[in-house]
Symmetry: D2
Subunit: 308 residues, 4 copies
Amino acid sequence: MVLTAEQRADIEQRRGIWHRTRRPTVAAMEELLYTPMARLDHGFVRVVDYMGDDSAIVQAARVSYGTGTKRVSEDAGLIRYLMRHHHSSPFEMCDIKLHVKLPIFVARQWIRHRTASVNEYSARYSILDKEFYVPDVGDIAPQSRQNHQGRAQEPVSLETALRVQEILRRDAASCYGDYETMLDPEGLGVARELARINLTLGMYTQWYWKVNLHNFMHFLRLRADPHAQREIRVYAEAMMDILKAWVPLTAAAFEEYRLGARTFSATMLKVLRAALAGEEVCQESSGLSKREWQEMNALLDGHLEKRS
Amino acid sequence: MVLTAEQRADIEQRRGIWHRTRRPTVAAMEELLYTPMARLDHGFVRVVDYMGDDSAIVQAARVSYGTGTKRVSEDAGLIRYLMRHHHSSPFEMCDIKLHVKLPIFVARQWIRHRTASVNEYSARYSILDKEFYVPDVGDIAPQSRQNHQGRAQEPVSLETALRVQEILRRDAASCYGDYETMLDPEGLGVARELARINLTLGMYTQWYWKVNLHNFMHFLRLRADPHAQREIRVYAEAMMDILKAWVPLTAAAFEEYRLGARTFSATMLKVLRAALAGEEVCQESSGLSKREWQEMNALLDGHLEKRS
Amino acid sequence: MVLTAEQRADIEQRRGIWHRTRRPTVAAMEELLYTPMARLDHGFVRVVDYMGDDSAIVQAARVSYGTGTKRVSEDAGLIRYLMRHHHSSPFEMCDIKLHVKLPIFVARQWIRHRTASVNEYSARYSILDKEFYVPDVGDIAPQSRQNHQGRAQEPVSLETALRVQEILRRDAASCYGDYETMLDPEGLGVARELARINLTLGMYTQWYWKVNLHNFMHFLRLRADPHAQREIRVYAEAMMDILKAWVPLTAAAFEEYRLGARTFSATMLKVLRAALAGEEVCQESSGLSKREWQEMNALLDGHLEKRS
Amino acid sequence: MVLTAEQRADIEQRRGIWHRTRRPTVAAMEELLYTPMARLDHGFVRVVDYMGDDSAIVQAARVSYGTGTKRVSEDAGLIRYLMRHHHSSPFEMCDIKLHVKLPIFVARQWIRHRTASVNEYSARYSILDKEFYVPDVGDIAPQSRQNHQGRAQEPVSLETALRVQEILRRDAASCYGDYETMLDPEGLGVARELARINLTLGMYTQWYWKVNLHNFMHFLRLRADPHAQREIRVYAEAMMDILKAWVPLTAAAFEEYRLGARTFSATMLKVLRAALAGEEVCQESSGLSKREWQEMNALLDGHLEKRS
C-alpha cells in the first residue's frame, strides 16, 4: 500500500478532529478510525464510521428506554442467547462503513453480498492508477485436488512462481500502458469507459462499503473461511480484527456459535447417537457419503473410525 | 404520551453521558438524541442513534480519503446533483435509528417498508400496556369521495365524533379487560400469545427501527404525502423535522427534487409543449384522462384551461 | 374456511383452463394449483403460480444451455451438495406465489420475512368480512415454563377453554358490530381507515405472497419449528407439503441438512470429542450452560449423561 | 455470438418439449423461450423462464380468487393507475429469468442492481473461453464534453478506431495466451483462480439472472437510458423487446409514465406556471442553474426561451 503524501495528510487531519457525542462510542474503534490496514500489495481496509456497540444490541433486543444498568455479564449472556438462537434483528441495529482498496477480481466476489451499500470509484469518470496485484511467491499454487474451485496448500516451485509473477506483471503493465495510450488526448483520445476495457482483473479499485453487523458477520463467515479465495480472505481477516475491537462480546459469541461451530445432518446425528451408545459405526452402513464420513470423522479427531 | 418516572430517568441519565469521538457529528442531532417527540395520544418518535452527515454523503460519492476542504456551497451543489439524477448510493451511507411507539394499525402500514431493520416489543413474551389510540374529534371524517382509500377533509359532526370516540374507547377498554382476565394466572391463566388476540388494532406497540437515509427519504415521500393515512403522516412529519436537523443540505434537495416536484407523463409533456407554443389544448383532444387533466391543470394554477 | 359460491366458481373456472408451455412444469403442482388448503377456522393457503423445478436449480448452478441429460440421481447429488454447502443462489432461481387467508396476528409475524413480495387486501379501501379466529379447545394452553414466549403443551381445562372461546368470540363479534355501526353511511358514516381500528387482532385478512425457493425454505425453517406460534405453524405445515410436491429432491435435502440437522457450538464439539474418546464429561466441567447441556444431551438420546 | 453445435442442439431439444399447464401463459414469450438474442460481438440474452402476465398483476392488486371476467380495457386502466401512482407491489408478482452472456465490465455495472438473483459461471471452477469484446469502429468515441462519465456522439476517425481495435484485440489475446500458459498442467500449472487475474475486463462471462417485473423495469429505466454506457444499453434494448412481448399493457404504461415522462423540480414548476401565465421567464431570475434551464428548455422544444 502506498498512500500519497496528500492522502496521508487528509487522514491525519481527519484523525485530529474530535467531537462531543451522546451516541454509543467504542474507544478501540476511535483508535482505529480512518487509519488504513494494509492488505495484499497495494490494498487496504479502513474504518470510516460505525454505529452502535455491544450494549446497543441489548438495548434493541429489549426495546428499552435507557442505557440500562445491566452488568457486562448479563449483556454477554443475552448476546450469546441471541446468536445461538439466530435472533438476527438486534445485530442489524449496528452498522459499519469501510473504505476498501482491492483488486477487481476480489471486488467481483465481494459485491455478491447484496445486503451492503457501495460507492465505487468510477472508471468511466476517472482514470485508474497504475496499481495491480501480483501474488507473493508463496501464494502461487496449482489447482487443488480436493477443492475443485480452489488452489492447493503447497505452492509451485520457486522458479515457476517467479515466472508467473513475471507474466502477471508484464501483461498488466503492458495493458496499462496501452490504456494510457488510448486515453491520451494528444494521442488516440478515446473515452475512459472504453479504454478501461483493456485493463486486467488484477487492477486495484476502491469503494466505500457499508453493512450492518448481522450481514458483516455473514460476510466474515463465508470469506474468512478456508474455502474462500486467499485474496479475499486476507481482507476478511482484517475485518475480523475490526469486529473484535468493535463488539467484543458479539465477536466471542460469533466464534463460539458460528465460526467454531459445525452442523450435523439428520443422518450424522444418527451416527453420533449410535457411536455414543457404544455401537459400531462405519461409512458403508452409515448412510453418509464417503466425503461426509471423512469430514465428520476428521472433525471428531478420528474417533468415529477408531471406535469402529 | 405518558412516560413513567423510571423511563424519564433512564432517558435523562442517557442524555447526561458524553463521549469523545472522531466520527462525523451533528450538533442539532445531539440536541435531539433520546428525547421523545410526542405523536398521537400516546405515541412518540425518538432518535436513538445516527451515522453520517451531509459531508459523509459527499465523501462517499467521491470515495475520498479525508474530510476534504470543500466549501458548504460545493457540498450543496453535489448533493443537489446526486438527488436530481437519482444517484441513491451515497445517501445509503448514512443511517438513523429510532425508537417509535405507535398504534398497531399504523405499525402494519409502516412495516411494509422492507428495507429497514426492526425490533418490536413482543406480545408473546411481554404484556402490553393499556394504551390505545382514540382519534381527536376533528380527525374523525367520512370516507372521501375523491380518494377511494382515504377520509374526507371535512370531519363528521361533533355529536357523531363523540359517539365514535366513545365506541372506540369502550371496545378497546373492554377487550383489554378481557385480555387481563385471560392472562391472570389466578384466573383463566392463558398464554400471552393467545390472550393478545383479543386486543384491538388501536393498541400501542413499540419498536426500534433503523433505516438508511435513502430509504428514510423514500418512507417520508410516501408517508408525509396527503394520500397517506393521517395517523402515520403525523409520524412522518416529525421525521421530516429530524431529517432537517440531521442533513440540512440533503433535506433542501429532497424538498426541491422530490417532495415539491411532479412528474409529467409522455402525453402531459406533449400537452405542455403545445400550450407553451400557444396552441389551444383541451382534455378531450389531449389524450389524458379527465382525472389526469384535472390534476395537471390544478398543478399549473389552472393555466391550461384558462388558455383553452 | 367458507368460500362463497362465486369464489368456488372462479377457482373451478380457472382450474379448467389449460395452456401449452415450454417452461419447466411440475405435474403435482398443476394438481394443487388454485385449490385452497384449509387452515385454522377460516383460513387457507393456495398456490397461485410457481416458477421452476428441481431441474431448474441444477440448470442455474451449471449455467447451462439445455435441459441436460443428467439422470435424476445426479441432480439429487448436486442439490444435496448445494444445500449442504449453503450455496443458496441456485435455490433463488425458483419462485412460488400463494394466496393466503390468515388472522391479523399471524400476518404480523409472517410479514417480518422481508424478502417476499406482498399484496394485502386493504381495509382502507374495502370492508373486512366478519371472520375471526377462535382457537380450538385443545389449543388453549397456559404460558409455557420452558419457552418464555410460547404456550405449554398441556391445554387448560375444558371449562376454562370454553370460557376463553366465549370471550374471544363475544369481543370480536361485538367489535365487529360496532365496526359496521361506524361504517354505516346511514348511521355514523365514518371512513373505513378509521372504523377498522376497532377490530381485534383475530380478524382474518388475506394477501398474495410471492417468495423465492431459498427464502421459502428459510420461512419454513423458522415457522415449521416447534418454537413458532402454533397458529403460524399450521400454515408452514401446509407449505411444507407444497414444497414436497414442487421440488421433491430439494425438499429431501432440506430435511436432511436443515430441518433434521443440528449445530454444535465450538464448546459442544470439544465435549463430543472427549465423550467419543471415552473420557468422562459432565456439565460442570464442560463449559456449557445447564440449558445447553440439557439440550445437547437430549439430542443425543441422553448418551452424554449415561456415559458420565 | 457463436454457439457450439452442442449448445444449439440443447436449445432446440429444449424448445421441442411442450407441457400442459394451468399457469398464466404468454404465447409471445413461449415463442421467445430459450432462443438467444445476439448482443455485441459474442454476447446474448435469452429468456429461460417467466412467471405471470398482465392479468396476474391485476389479480394481485385485487387479491382476487379467479381469472376475473374483466375486459382488457379495464386491465389496462388499472395497470396505468398502478404505474402512475407508483404502486409497485403488484408488479413484483411477475418474474423473469434470463441467461446472459456479457463482457466482464458490463457485468460489473449490471451486478450493482442488488434486487436480482444471480448464478455466474465460475472462473475459479472452470476455464473461460477465448472470447472478448472489441467495439465496432462506429462505437469508438472520445470522452464526452457534456457527460463527464460517457463518450461523445461522434466517433473518432476511422484510422484511430482501427488502431484502438487492434490494441484491444492484441492485448486481450496476448493476456489470454498467457492465461493458457499459466493453466497448462504440463506447463506452469497454476490454479484457475490465480491465472484468471491476467484476463482483461473485455472477456465474456455468463450468468443466469432472475428479477421481478418491478425491478426489471427499474433496470431498464436506468440502463436503456442514453446516459448508460452503450455496451449495457444494447442489452437493455433487447430486454425492452422482451418486456413488450411479455406484458404489453405494462410496457405501454411504463413508456407513458416512466421512460417518456420527466420530473420537474419545485422551482421548475414555478417557472412553468409563470410561463403559462404569460409572464416572461429567463434563466437568471428563474432560480434554476444554467444546466437545469437548458435541459428544461430543450425538453419543451425551446418554448421557454422563445417566449422570453
